[in-house]
Every structure is written in C-alpha cells, then in structure tokens.
C-alpha cells in the first residue's frame, strides 16, 4: 500500500513582477510505500529542499499533486494545514530546531500539547520512545546543556511522539560528528524496522546507505533510483557512490 503519492510536481519561483523565473522542480513523480525508508539525494540547488518543503506542506507546488494516505495536500485549507502537519508528519531538521525556552521533555511534548492531549497520556507515550532513543537522562535538561547528537535524538523523539504517518528528515546528520551520525542513522533504521515510514533528504552517502531506496534528484527531476535489495550497508554505500559518480560525470540515464 503506498502511503505517499507524488505526481507531476512542478515548482516555479518567480521574482517580483514575474521576472527572473527559476524552475526548481520540473516534473517530479514517485510514491512511497508504507514502512519504507527512502533517501532523496541531490546536490545543492538540485531542488531537494523545495521538494521537502512541498511534502511538508510548508510550500505549495505550482502544479501537480501530493497525496498522503489518501489526503490531497493541496485540497487542505490553509487554516487546517498546521494541524494536518502536526497530526500526520514528524520532522527532523539539520539544525535540530529545539526551542531554547523548553526543557528537552517539553520540546518533545510540544506537538502533543498543541493537540490538547492530557499530561498522563503524554507521559505514557514518551516513556517507551525515550527508552528506545536512550534519552531518559536528558529529559529535564535544556537544549543548551546537551550535545548535538543528543539534541538530534530529542528532535527524533519529538517527531515520533505523535505517531506520525511519515517522518521527514532534512539533512539530519548535517550538523553532527561522525559518531553521532552513525548513532542517529542506526536509530533511523531501527525505527524503520518497527514499521515507521521515513523520508530523508541528504547529500551524505553514508546517510543514504541505511535507506531501503535512494532517489537521485538532478535539475528538478527524479533522475534515477536504486533499491537496496539484499545489499549490506557497505555494499549499498558502494552502489550509491558509483551512481553519484556516474550522474556527476554525465552517464546515461537508466
């Protein structure tokens, strides 16, 4: 069953008075199955951030449609979009985006509080997630007191606590050292094993190699995609590298 259906997305940015048009996305179509772990790779300016913003309902496509679990994103009213995002999507950002005014625990609770859940239920939900992510000891601390890797784990907990249909991760390892990166990626694949759909945008081969499928975006189009199949992480890593080199050197499209 496919949980995300993206078809014919086009996004054109135009400057003031309609001049200076930039076509960020030309024609993007793909679908994501429930429980899949998809990585989207591409260089800076390839349009991957634009794509993620559209998937996150933070931006609207110029044409085309995004259907998440049977709901058409462009049909959702502006006023209901924030609620939709809160209930259906979980976000992990490169810059963590934790609020410095909250403790780690309160940061994680934020989406639930906004949804009006009672405190008892929030605690019940947090306990297993915190244990899984190894952050029970950090809950009472403030973001400024913990390391980058710890912050990102808190952000993952925040993304997971609403039990979202899909987690959107934007360069989640971008601001982490290699050890923290490895831990986080392990976390993502564990979460994915438990049935959580994850869609990650990255330009790190290492990060992409834990995914089940990698899509390559170039000049606003899905240029190519490869599946892990029976590969180990290392083997998949090699294949992704090869593909990137091929794309970069202008190899033929498969």
């Amino acid at each position: 069953m496919s949980i995300l259906e993206v078809s014919g997305i086009k996004k054109i940015y135009s400057g003031r008075f309609g001049g200076n048009r930039v076509e960020a996305l030309k024609n993007v179509s793909f679908s994501v199955e429930s429980g899949e772990f998809v990585a989207i790779m591409g260089e800076s300016g390839s349009g991957k951030t634009t794509l993620l913003n559209i998937l996150a309902a933070l931006d609207k496509p110029t044409s085309g449609s995004v259907i998440l679990d049977g709901m058409n994103l462009s049909a959702i009213k502006e006023s209901a979009i924030a609620r939709f995002r809160r209930d259906n999507l979980g976000f992990v950002f490169q810059e963590f985006n934790l609020l410095d005014t909250f403790t780690v625990e309160d940061n994680i609770f934020l989406p639930l509080v906004l949804a009006g859940k009672p405190y008892r239920e929030m605690e019940d939900r947090l306990r297993p997630i915190a244990a899984k992510l190894g952050i029970p000891g950090l809950l009472k601390k403030y973001p400024y007191e913990i390391s980058g890797g710890q912050k990102q784990r808190a952000a993952v907990a925040r993304a997971m606590i609403t039990d979202p249909k899909m987690i959107l991760a934007d360069e989640p390892t971008g601001a982490l050292d290699s050890r923290s990166s490895d831990e986080l990626l392990k976390l993502f694949s564990d979460v994915n094993m438990l049935g959580q759909t994850v869609l990650m945008v990255t330009h790190s081969v290492k990060a992409a190699s834990v995914a089940g499928r990698v899509m390559f975006i170039k000049d606003g189009e899905v240029f190519h995609q490869i599946y892990r199949g029976a590969n180990t992480n290392e083997q998949f890593y090699q294949r992704i590298s090869d593909t990137l080199i091929m794309i970069a050197t202008g190899g033929a499209r498969k």
């Binding site: 209930d87 976000f91 009672p118 929030m122 403030y142």
Partner: protein, 683 residues
C-alpha cells in the same frame, strides 16, 4: 585610507539602523529641549517678574538637575542596547581586518553625529517651544507681565550643549571601553549572549515581596504628615528595590511554580506562553521594572501637583478663613479687655468706612495659646520637655490649645451658654478628644461640659499641621491659671494673650491689600510696643501660585520626559524581543503550530509583559495614596480634600493608561513586522 571614510561608515551605520537610532536621537532631543526650556525659564525676565519668583527659580533649578541626572542614566541604558546590536557589525569589521583603533574611530564619529543631531534638534525644539512654555508658566502663576517678543538665551544654549556633551562623552568612553576589552568573536556573538534558561532566584524574589510589603505597610499605617515626609523617601527606595527584585526574580519564580502544576502548564494556551514568559521576564525584568517605576513616578507627580494646583483655592480658603485677619499680642491677660480693645475696634471701623464696605463674617475674640504634649488627658507644656521641632513629636500627641473666654464666644455666636469655674467647652480641629477632663501640668484641671461643632480658628491652625483644640472657659484666667506665670524657652511669657480680629471686606484685590496695610499701621499707632500681625488672602495668593503653579509646571515637564523615556524603553524592548523571537516563530510553525495559535500565544505574552508594569504601577499608586495625602496636608490641602486628590489620581491614571495602550498598539506592530518578516525568508 581616503579621508572621510570613517565618518561615512559611521553615517551609513546610523542610516541603516535607523529603526534603532531615530528613536534614540528623538529621545535625546526631547531631553535636551526640556533641559533648555527649564534653564531658559530660570533666567527669563517674565518669570523673574512674577511674584514668588524665588520659589519658582528654586523649583526650576531643582528640575534642571533632575533632568540632567535622569538623561544621563537613561541615555546610558539606551546606548547599551544600541551597542549590543551594533557589536555584531563591529565584530565583522574586526574580522575583515579593521583594527580596534578604526572601530573606535567609527564609534566616535557615530557618537559625535548622534550628539550633534540630538543637541541641534533639541535646542531648535527648545527655542521654538520656550515661548509657549513661558506663556504656560506665567499663565499658571496668574502673572500678567507677558510680552510677545521672542527670546533666545545664549547662556541656556551653552549650558544645554555643555551638559549633553558631557553625557555623550561619557557614553562614548563606555562604548570605547567595550570595544577595546572584547575579542572579535565575542563581538560577533554579543547579541546571542545569555541564552541560558532562567533560574528562579527564590531569595531575591522573596526579598522583593518583603520589601514591597513593608513599604506598603509603612505607607498605609503612617499617621503624621511630618513622619510621612521623612519616611516617604525610604518607602520610595524600598518600592523601587522591591519592584526590580520582583520583576526580575519574582516573575521567573512565578512561572516556575506554574510549570510545576502539570494540569495547568501542559495546556495548549499556557504551554508556550508560560515557558517563554520565564525567558522574557529574565531578559526584560529590569526594563519592565524601569517602566513600572517611571509610570509610577509620572502618576504620582502629575496627580499630586495637579491636585495641589487645582486645590489651591481650597488651600487658600483653608489657610485664610477670612480675607483679612489681624492679631495683636497684649502684654498680659489682665489688660486684654473691652476697654483696651476699644481703640482697635474704632480703627477697624474707620477703615471700613473709608473704603466703603461693611465687614462680613467677622471674628473678634480674645485668646491665649499654648502648645503641649497631650497624653492620657494630661498636657505637658514645659518648653524644656517639649521639643516641637522633633519630627516625631506629632506622633507623641503634640497639640495646639487656644483658650477663648465664654463672653467672646457668646457674642460671636449669639448664644447664652453658661460655664462655671473650671468648666469648659471644646472644639477639635484635626483630631479628636474623648476624655471628660483635661489637665494642664502646672495649670488647671478642666471639666469638659460640652463639645461644639465649629469655631472660627485662624490661619495659624490651618498653617500648622498640628491638631488644634479650642477651649472655651468662663474667662482666660480661670482656665489658664498657673500657665500664665510660666515662661517659654526665650524667657517671655508662655501664653501670649492676644486679640484676633478677622473679616471679609468684599473689595477688589489691591484695595484688600491696602486695607490690610492700613489696619497694620493704625494698630501700630495705638500701641507701638504691642506686637501686631495682619495678613490677607490677596497678599498671599501670588505666593501660593508661585509655589503650586511652579510645582505643577515642573510636574508636567518631568512627566513628559519620563513618559518619553518609558515609551522608548518599551519600543526597544519590543524590538529586541522581535529579533529574538524570529527563529522561535519559524520552529513553532514547522512543529505544527497554526498561525493563529502562534499569534494568540505571542499576543497574550505581549499583553501580560506590557500591562504588568502598569498594573504594578497602579498598585504602587494605590498604596502611595495615604502617604501622599498626608504630605499634601503640609501644603494645606487638608485631609478632607482627599476626594479631590482621589479624583485627580483616577483621571491621571485613566489618561495614562490610554496613552500606554496607544504606545502598545504602535510598538507591537513593529514587533509583528520583525517577527513575520523573518518567517517569510525561512519558509
């Protein structure tokens, strides 16, 4: 490097940050303008021609000092805010290879530009408005000597320029110090300094509450006006300290307590607000406390000086119950009789005939007065024991006693009261006395047989803040007894028997003064040795207007300055918060807060933060009411006139709250523009 490079860089810096610098320059200009006006008026011929000019000049001198000090503190505060925002730019210049020397040059150019602009605009505004201020002051003081020529006071210009140059020089030195003693990295990051979450400081919070409670207690329980005046300054200091402590620590403490209540805290409406509030209060506690203190000062100043000014006629009436009053002091009680008074009465009659008026509301009585401690029905009058000048004496029950013979009472009121020896009737002015007897040490014990509702006490009773008891007895000797033999500290008799004569003449002001003067010279002619005192309302009116009008004028001027300062602090606070909240806004949106939720949460925070100082100021004002009312007593604005003060205070507060709300509206728009402006860029 090309000449003019640094000035151009400095000028560009100001232009690009005009949202920061324009209000700063404007506020400095207002301070300079007000300073100029006050200094100008102090030397102004039209003001010096006014009656009671010495009082006005003194009030204005005081005012100019207050403004200079306040301007200094306030400009330092504002400049520190500006520097914090500019440091990032300076850090960048520094990294790009500009030496500290060059940075200092830029800051110097900037400060000089701001100083020149502020002083120039301030002086221009001051000179333009000085005529208006002069007319206002002269009009307030009911003076008439106004000409319509335009004057510029070079001395005042020089003084203003000098004072503000010194202030700006100090500011420059402070900025230079900051640049020299910081590294380029710390300059770059200055803006984000202090990201630590606020910790509730229980000690400070509770200390603030205690201080405030103590100050309130003092204000409410104070009984005597003199003590009020002494204690007032301590109470003010306590309130200021308490306000700062409460705003900085107490508010964070309160948020922390709220966070402990899970059922309350984890609700959509409270969650973001409460935790951001803790942050906001920590950052802005001092600013909010300043706003609160300034608001309170403005309100107290304006309401009390307005009350004084508009209560002036009342105070005059209280101080001068009759238009013309005279008193003649006789050498002893025995010579104070109708026979000796006859020539005086004749003289008064001659004068009323001469000016063609029939005296109305006449009072004509003999009296002997003493002052003493009244305690448990016993009065101690010994000068060696009684220290009238001791501020606390009024708390110990010091009271004035006027002895009046029954004959004079019956004559004045057309009554036929009868009193036996040692029996008296009493009338209390300010205060009460319930015991059935009163005993004077070294004197007599008197039995109180009747309490009367009214007796026309003279202006002395109103002028002094002491309570006054009028004792009407069979005759003066019967009641005073042994007291007549006592001497006061200077060796003269303790009780000076005197004759009080007062009336309303109903003649124009100048004639009234003539009547008074003539009365004095005629009385003196009758017996040059007897001390004689005459006074009239019109003679004193100008003096009253000089004092009360001067205070009122200064109150208005200082209020204007304080309000400008408060507005500017509010504006910068909103600006600073806008920049801080910009990224937070973006995160909340990404996490799934709707625009409406964000707006509502921000709005409720802004409202709380904004109106907290106003509410606290209102509370301060409420508790200050009794103590200020007591102090107003010293200005003859009697307690019975508390309603006037009350009404004026309420009106002042209403007007102030309205202005405050207006400022909120304007500045919160700036805030929204900054916050949403940032969001458009991130999404």
């Amino acid at each position: 490097m090309k000449a003019g490079f640094y000035p151009r860089l400095a000028f560009d810096g100001i232009r690009k940050n005009k949202r920061l610098y324009l209000p700063y320059i404007m506020a400095c200009s207002v301070m300079a303008a007000v300073f100029y006006i006050i200094v100008f008026l102090r030397h102004d011929a039209a003001v010096l021609n006014l009656f009671g000019e010495d009082l006005i000049v003194e009030t204005l001198s005081l005012g100019s000092i207050v403004i200079a000090c306040f301007a200094c503190v306030f400009m330092f505060y504002t400049n520190s805010f500006l520097m914090r925002r500019r440091k990032k730019e300076f850090g960048l210049y520094n990294i790009l290879g500009m030496g500290k020397r060059s940075l200092v040059l830029i800051v110097s150019c900037e400060t000089v530009t701001v100083a020149a602009a502020s002083v120039a605009i301030g002086l221009a505004a001051g000179i333009t408005l000085s005529k208006l201020a002069e007319l206002l002051l002269v009009n307030l003081l009911k003076g008439s000597s106004v000409d319509y020529s335009f004057k510029i006071d070079a001395g005042a210009i020089a003084q203003t320029a000098a004072v503000f140059s010194v202030i700006f020089l100090l500011i420059l030195l402070n900025s230079v110090r900051q640049i020299i003693f910081s590294t380029s990295i710390s300059l770059l990051r200055a803006e984000n300094f202090g990201e630590k979450p606020p910790k509730a400081n229980w000690l400070f919070g509770i200390a603030g509450l205690v201080l405030l409670a103590a100050a309130y207690y003092i204000a409410v329980t104070i009984t005597s006006p003199i003590t009020a005046l002494v204690v007032f300054f301590f109470a003010v200091l306590m309130v200021i300290a308490g306000t700062y402590l409460i705003m900085i620590s107490g508010s964070v403490m309160f948020c922390r307590i709220l966070q402990k209540i899970k059922g309350y805290y984890y609700r959509p409406n409270h969650f973001v607000s409460v935790s951001s509030m803790a942050y906001r209060m920590k950052r802005n506690g001092a600013g909010l406390a300043s706003i609160c203190i300034l608001s309170t000062m403005v309100l107290v100043m304006i309401s009390s000086t307005t009350s004084l000014y508009f209560g002036m006629e009342y105070a005059l009436g209280e101080r001068y119950p009759r238009e013309v009053t005279s008193s003649v002091i006789f050498e002893s009680e025995s010579v104070l009789n109708d026979e000796s008074l006859a020539p005086y009465r004749k003289a008064a009659e001659d004068i009323s005939n001469k000016y063609g008026f029939a005296p109305t509301d006449t009072v004509d009585y003999r009296t002997g007065a003493v002052v003493g401690y009244l305690e448990n029905g016993t009065v101690e009058t010994d000068a060696g024991v009684v220290d009238y000048l001791d501020a606390k004496s009024i708390d110990k029950g010091v009271c004035q006693f006027y002895f009046v013979p029954l004959d004079d009472y019956n004559r004045m009121f057309n009554t036929r009261e009868k009193l036996d020896s040692k029996e008296v009737m009493i009338y209390m002015y300010r205060g009460s006395y319930d015991l059935p007897e009163i005993t004077f040490n070294n004197g007599e014990t008197l039995k109180i047989v009747k309490r009367i509702d009214y007796f026309p006490t003279d202006g002395d009773a109103a002028m002094s803040i002491l309570p006054t008891m009028v004792i009407i007895s069979k005759d003066l000797e019967d009641a005073l007894g042994g007291l007549l033999k006592l001497a006061d500290y200077s060796g003269g008799p303790l009780v000076s028997p005197s004759w009080i004569y007062g009336f309303n003449a109903g003649v124009p002001a100048e004639e009234q003064i003539n009547v008074m003067n003539e009365l004095y010279s005629r009385f003196k002619e009758i017996s040059p040795d007897r001390r004689c005192h005459t006074e009239c309302v019109e003679d004193s009116r100008a003096g009253f207007y000089g004092l009360y009008g001067g205070l009122f004028f200064l109150g208005v001027m200082l209020s204007a300055v304080f309000i400008i300062a408060a507005v500017l602090i509010i504006y910068y606070k909103q600006l600073a918060e806008g920049y801080e909240d910009q990224p937070r806004f973006g995160i909340m949106q990404k996490v799934g807060m709707t625009d409406r939720e964000i707006r509502r949460s921000i709005n409720s925070q802004l409202l709380t933060v904004f109106f907290l100082p106003l509410i606290l100021a209102a509370t301060h004002l409420l508790f200050a009411f009794p103590i200020i009312n007591k102090i107003l007593l010293l200005f003859n604005l009697a307690a019975s006139n508390a309603t006037l003060y009350g009404i004026v205070t309420v009106i002042c507060f209403a007007v102030f709250a309205l202005m405050y709300s207006l400022v909120y509206k304007i500045t919160s728009n700036t805030y929204y523009r900054i916050v949403t402006g940032g969001r458009e860029r991130t999404s």
